[in-house]
């Protein structure tokens, strides 16, 4: 059992949870993830380790409630516990001094990005963070990223915060400015966003890393369900990734595979909504 020490809502359906997991807190490197199962019968959910405090023996998780099992995770209050937390899994991000680095995050991807930006800044890089979301309420970790970034750029689709539009526009401007152009771009977010970033940097030959989120079960290379096509080859995102060369990823295949269980997810959502309707009716 893994005790939940705190659980706060950062954005609609997005929670920050601090969980006691001393061995993982010690072993973890930025870029790695854990597999969490709130309770018996629940799915195994991969979650990026957003931060870790080895002295306290805790890890921080950013959890977006989208399906039944993620909802069970975020509904675990402080003082409660998660049944299974396994990790750290995946390859750590390769951190060195690259010089100027742009960290681009979309939606909840910003949570995955945050530990990488933090590690890159700590390694002496000049980090520009570009984060975007649908509207201001979906912008997360802006203060945390501002504190470690040379510059923080915010975009929203509806213009309610920062620049109106997509993160790619802000990145394009950055690349066009010889004083600010990055040597390395890290992009984490919805697949179309990562693809757009990769297409933007490709003609300029700027190294671009993306963090992929395929469907996983074990997270240890045992099932192959997480396979993604990179440079024409099948890779297991849980052991070879989750980060890959953004210019070599087959995004279309990834996006398609992510829809495998859509019917089940829709059915589960319907069922949950009916439950909630029931609660309202009873309450």
């Amino acid at each position: 059992m893994f005790e939940v020490l705190s659980n706060e809502t950062l954005a609609p359906n997005l929670h920050r949870m601090v969980v006691r997991a001393p061995r993982i807190a010690t072993a973890r490197r930025p870029g790695q993830f854990v597999i969490v199962r709130a309770d018996r019968g629940e799915e195994r959910i991969p979650l990026t380790i957003g931060d870790a405090d080895p002295a306290e023996g805790t890890i921080t998780l950013f959890v977006q409630a989208i399906g039944a099992s993620t909802r069970r995770i975020v509904s675990t209050p402080a003082g409660g516990s998660l049944r299974d937390v396994a990790g750290p899994l995946g390859q750590p991000t390769h951190i060195e001094q690259f010089g100027r680095v742009a960290c681009v995050g979309g939606g909840v991807g910003t949570a995955v990005l945050y530990p990488l930006a933090k590690a890159l800044a700590a390694a002496g890089n000049e980090v520009t963070s570009i984060i975007g979301g649908r509207s201001s309420q979906y912008i997360i970790l802006a203060d945390e990223l501002a504190a470690l970034s040379h510059e923080l750029l915010v975009t929203t689709e509806d213009g309610t915060r920062g620049r109106k539009g997509f993160v790619t526009a802000a990145l394009a401007d950055l690349m066009a400015d010889p004083e600010r152009a990055p040597r390395l771009v890290l992009a984490v977010g919805p697949v179309p966003m990562m693809r757009a970033v990769a297409e933007l940097t490709r003609p300029h030959g700027i190294q671009t890393l993306v963090s992929l989120n395929p469907i996983m079960i074990d997270g240890t290379g045992m099932c192959g369900g997480c396979r993604v096509v990179v440079g024409g080859e099948s890779k297991f995102a849980c052991v070879d990734g989750p980060e890959f060369d953004g210019h070599r990823v087959d995004y279309a295949s990834l996006m398609d595979r992510l829809t495998t269980y859509r019917e089940f997810e829709d059915a589960a959502r319907c069922a949950a909504d009916e439950c909630r309707l029931g609660e309202v009716a009873n309450g």
Binding site: R23, I24, A27, R37, G41, E42, E43, R44, G67, A68, S69, R83, D84, V85, A86, G87, P88, L89, I217, D218, T220, G221, M222, C223, G224, G225, R227, V229, S234, V239, S253, D256, R257, T259, T260, Y261, F264, E265, A268
Partner: protein, 469 residues
């Protein structure tokens, strides 16, 4: 009652039949197919054993169970004695009685099989083990040796790891089993389906280990959560039994279409995560209407029979050799056929064809014919030119095999591996690192439960010697 039948009487008894669930009914549910023998039938079957002096069956058993003694006690209806002997020799008899390929091991050597049917040793092993599980109070207390202050770490809670843990705990050592998944059993839990091996059997075996004082630490991935070096620093000895869990890819066009599963993924979803068999489970599984499973081993049979139970109207085995070459247990092949599984033999997959929305639509295949024998001694399949055809399928399962998972070994550069990534050990199970032993599929590649257990037993004996010295 003593087992003192005359030879003629023994020879006159026909081999017992295993009661089974009706094939049509069972192909729609996950209940165990083999129901187990009744006491009178089991005793009678045990009496078929002629107690021959040279005991060939024992040589056929990879862990050398004292089969004639167990059968003699059973034939005399002394079940506590039969159970004590069996359990002394085999740590997981209720498992082995269900999943061992007896027809190529003990029963293949049985003298009675020369002119007629071998004694049904596997059924009887299961019978005695199930009796023991149901009657723990009648077994008598096993002697617990004095507790030692030595500690042993076991990596992996599959049959090799569990067997070693039991042996080491019985020797008084303090044992901790580290398991990567959230539950124990290894392939017994996530691979072999409920209809062949009910999961409560694994639970019961693991409870017995816990009662012996074995600590089971799930969700710990050695090589990730803790390193082998950390284990070596913290424990007096380490036994590595992390299996061969990495699926081999088909390397066919279309492998990443939706509806293509590795055997491990399909089986893990259904067995470990209970998809499609427990309405309360939240993990989904794609239940195909027409499912093609590529491969001819036990894993392929488990996948195809699982697909049938998930509702497939057509469930097919696609195998490039002929049925005679199939490595699966004969009972699995028989059960699969009874359940309506189609066997598409001498057929090799060429490509997986998708539809416009990215789902599997068909498996493109080519006919094969058997040529001269290859290195394995089996006749090598060669393609028949111009014989391509499409098998309509909405789910394709790759059950061609697994390899060693490098997760642990990648972080232990001093550990000697062979070219396939398996850990190299000596006859006692010792690796190139002092105090580190290994066994099971991690050493052998995909093998069998009983060989894995034999490795666990042998390594535990070597560890006991090392810790005593």
């Amino acid at each position: 009652m003593a087992n003192d039948l005359a030879m003629k009487e023994r020879l006159a008894i026909p081999r017992v039949h295993m009661p089974e669930l009706d094939a049509t009914e069972r192909s729609r549910n996950f209940a165990e197919v083999n129901r187990g023998l009744e006491m009178t039938d089991a005793v009678r079957e045990a009496q078929r054993c002629i107690q021959c002096k040279h005991r060939p069956c024992v040589d056929g058993c990879p862990v050398g169970v004292s089969i004639p003694e167990v059968l003699d006690a059973l034939a005399a209806e002394d079940l506590p004695l039969a159970a004590r002997i069996l359990r002394g020799d085999n740590a997981l008899p209720a498992v082995c009685g269900r999943v061992c390929p007896q027809e190529t091991q003990c029963e293949a050597k049985c003298v009675r099989g020369v002119k007629g049917d071998a004694v049904a040793i596997g059924y009887l092993e299961r019978f005695v083990a199930d009796w023991a599980m149901a009657n723990p109070d009648r077994l008598g207390q096993a002697d617990r040796p004095a507790a030692s202050d030595r500690t042993v770490a076991v990596v992996g809670a599959g049959p090799a790891g569990l067997t070693a843990a039991g042996e080491l705990a019985r020797a008084g050592h303090r044992v901790t089993v580290f398991e990567a998944l959230h539950d124990t059993g290894g392939v017994l839990r996530y691979g072999i389906p409920e209809f062949r091996l009910p999961k409560e059997i694994i639970d019961s075996e693991v409870e017995q280990l816990a009662a012996l004082g074995v600590a089971i630490d799930c969700n710990v991935i050695i090589g990730k959560t803790l390193t082998l070096d950390q284990l070596r620093a913290e424990f007096d000895a380490v036994f590595i039994a992390n299996g061969a869990g990495l699926p081999m890819m088909l390397d066919l066009k279309g492998e990443n279409l939706k509806g293509v599963y590795s055997a491990n993924e399909l089986l893990t979803r259904v067995n470990l995560m209970e998809a499609g068999r427990n309405p309360a489970a939240t993990t989904p599984v794609i239940a195909g209407k027409s499912v093609a499973v590529i491969g001819g081993g036990n894993t392929a049979m488990d996948c195809v029979r699982t697909a049938r139970r998930l509702g497939a109207q057509r469930a097919m085995i696609v195998y490039r050799r002929s049925e005679a070459e199939m490595p699966a247990r004969v009972e699995e092949i028989k059960h699969a056929k009874e359940e309506g599984v189609e066997f598409v033999m001498l057929t090799a997959p060429l490509e997986i064809i998708g539809n416009e929305s990215g789902w599997v639509a068909a498996l493109r295949c080519r006919r094969m014919e058997l040529g001269p024998p290859d290195d394995s001694g089996r006749r090598k399949p060669v393609p028949v030119e111009g014989s391509e055809f499409d098998l309509p399928a909405d789910v394709v399962v790759n059950a061609i095999g697994t390899r060693a998972n490098p997760l642990l070994t990648a972080t232990a550069p001093d550990l000697d591996l062979n070219t396939w990534g398996n850990i190299v050990v000596d006859d006692a199970g010792a690796t190139s690192l002092p105090g580190v032993f290994a066994g099971g599929d991690m050493v052998r590649g995909g093998a069998t439960v009983i060989l894995a257990m034999g490795d666990g037993k042998r390594a535990a004996a070597a560890i006991n010697r090392a810790l005593a010295g």
